[in-house]
Each structure stands twice: as structure tokens, then as C-alpha cells.
Amino acid sequence: MSYIKIDQNKCKSCYLCIDACPYKLIKKSNNTGTTGELTVEFSDTENKCIGCAQCAIVCPDIAIVEVNRE
């Protein structure tokens, strides 16, 4: 099972990762981040993540700290 880890303290809610994920596995969370907006979370109930790291590559704030591929 591939998965990513997001650091909530680093996320600035730019949402570039939401657009970058080919499977739409990143969505807004309920957590208000440092910019006063909702941070993002990884949500993959059907194990669709392929560990391609596109989300991490586009993140300007090194908030996606890990991508693990099975």
C-alpha cells in the first residue's frame, strides 16, 4: 500500500498538491493551518495511491514530507 505523510505545521493551504494528484487522493482537512485556511489531508480508502510523488514534487513548502511506494 503506497502512502504519503503531510506535516500539518508546514502546509500553507496553497492546494497545488490537490491538483497534482492523478487520483484526487488529497483533500481539504478540518484543520486550520498557519495561513488561517484549511490544510490538506491524504485520504485513500480504496488504496489507489501509486507513490508517484507528484504531490510532493509540486509542494512549495516541503509539507509533504514522505512518499512511500509499495
Binding site: 496553497c14 514534487i57 509540486v58 512518499v67
Partner: protein, 251 residues
């Protein structure tokens, strides 16, 4: 298997202080990855400049020196030559804004290229003076609204923007000059490959290498991160084409 983690050359627990969605963060991240891949961390001196680019030394876990506004290539020249005089070969690169490299620092930048100084210069072109609040820069495009061109840049009053990578390519001492962008995954990976090539030019002792990075400034452009990338992809790349303008590394 972990296929992505924060580069080792980024200081532990770094939290970037650029504005939300700013491409400076992506640029610094790929530079750190290249430093890791080429194993340059212990032998590098980075020269940061005035502008948002100055923050480089807060985040990179390497030796850094801050140059006065526009003087990064001159400082890099001194660092490179002084070490060489002691028999030490340091890897030296600058990280400068478009205002820093191509306006106040144009003399230092261009003469470093003309001398074929064996350093690498990276120029973040966000078409304005970002740090000081979005004034018109040498790269602001025709019609661009900035705090010092409230009616838009016009040729009668302001003249034309500089195409830095093309100009630097014309200098005889330049071995490599290219322009890249960071608006999507494909371009980020291409930018990384291109910067790596520029770094290798210096490692092979060939002469001046330069990469201009078309970069977003969502705050001063007053656009979202997404719309800033759209502007770069659809508008800026037409004026500032993405290309390698000179590569004579292996000649």
C-alpha cells in the same frame, strides 16, 4: 520503500517563510536535491542576494554568504578565486532575483559571464521586485501593472524587458545558458535536469553557467498559486521561451 523525502541539504525542521504558493520553495528544494545527488554539500559555497532569494541561507544546510544587492556574481568570483589560490576547489553558485541579477547587478553578472568565470548563477525571474512590494523590474512585461508602473509598463516611458538567458548566452565566456519554469511536475523535473547540467559545467571546469527560472510571485501578482502557474504557462513562456540558448560544455 520510501521514494521521496526532504533532501538532506535542507536544514532539519525547516519551515519555508516564502508566501503561500511561491515557487522560490520549489526552486530551493530541487537545488538541495541536486546538491545531495552530486554529493556537493561539504564543498559548496552559495551566494545569496538581496530579495526574497536571500532566505536561501535559512534553509540550505551548506555554507552561504550574503552579497550586497546585485553583487552576487562578484562575490562568487572572489570566493572561487580566493579558494583556488589556496589550492582548494570550491563549488560556488549564486541564487539571485531578476532585479538583483539583471538590473542593479547587470554589470557584475554580465562581466562574470564575459570572463567565463567558473561559477553557476541561478536567477529567479518573477517579473518584479518581490521582497520590496512588487515594483517594476527589468523583466516586467509590457503592460504589466506594478506599484511603480500603475498604468502598465510601456515602451515610451520604460522601454523593453530584458531576456536574460538569451543575453547571457551571447557572452563568449558563457558555456551554458537556459530558461526553465516550475509550473507543473514535468517542468519541475526538467528544471532540475537543467540546473544539474549547469552545476556539472562548473564541476568540469568549463566556465560560466546560467539558469533563469520563470517563477511565481502570487502575493505581488495578486493571483492564487494556481492562477500564477497558469499565467506563467500561458503568458510568460510566450515572451520568455523555455529553452537552452547555449550549451558548449562539451566543445
Amino acid at each position: 520503500m520510501q521514494v521521496y523525502s526532504i533532501p538532506n541539504s535542507i536544514k532539519k525542521d525547516s519551515k519555508f517563510t516564502f508566501c503561500k504558493g511561491c515557487d522560490h520553495g520549489v526552486a530551493i528544494k530541487i537545488i538541495a536535491e541536486i546538491i545531495d545527488e552530486l554529493n556537493l554539500r561539504e564543498n559548496t559555497v552559495a551566494i545569496s542576494s538581496s530579495g526574497c532569494s536571500v532566505l536561501l541561507y535559512d534553509f540550505l544546510d551548506i555554507d552561504c554568504l550574503e552579497a550586497p544587492h546585485g553583487r552576487a556574481c562578484a562575490v562568487a568570483t572572489g570566493v572561487k578565486r580566493a579558494h583556488r589560490a589556496k589550492g582548494e576547489e570550491k563549488f560556488v553558485f549564486t541564487y539571485q532575483g531578476d532585479g538583483d541579477f539583471a538590473s542593479i547587478g547587470l554589470g557584475e553578472s554580465m562581466h562574470s559571464a564575459l570572463r567565463g568565470e567558473n561559477i553557476t548563477a541561478i536567477c529567479i525571474n518573477n517579473t518584479n521586485y518581490g521582497m520590496t512590494g512588487g515594483q517594476m523590474g527589468p523583466t516586467s512585461i509590457m503592460g504589466q501593472l506594478t506599484t511603480t508602473s500603475p498604468l502598465g509598463r510601456n515602451k515610451e516611458y520604460h522601454g523593453f524587458p530584458i531576456k536574460t538567458a538569451e543575453q547571457i548566452a551571447l557572452c563568449e565566456g558563457t558555456k551554458f545558458s537556459a530558461r526553465v519554469a516550475l509550473y507543473d511536475v514535468k517542468n519541475i523535473l526538467k528544471a532540475k535536469k537543467t540546473i544539474k547540467k549547469a552545476f556539472e559545467c562548473q564541476l568540469k571546469n568549463k566556465g560560466f553557467s546560467f539558469v533563469e527560472i520563470l517563477s511565481s510571485c502570487p502575493t505581488n501578482w495578486k493571483l492564487s498559486a494556481q492562477d500564477s502557474h497558469k499565467k506563467i504557462a500561458e503568458e510568460l513562456t510566450k515572451i520568455y521561451p523555455l529553452d537552452i540558448f547555449k550549451d558548449t560544455i562539451d566543445d
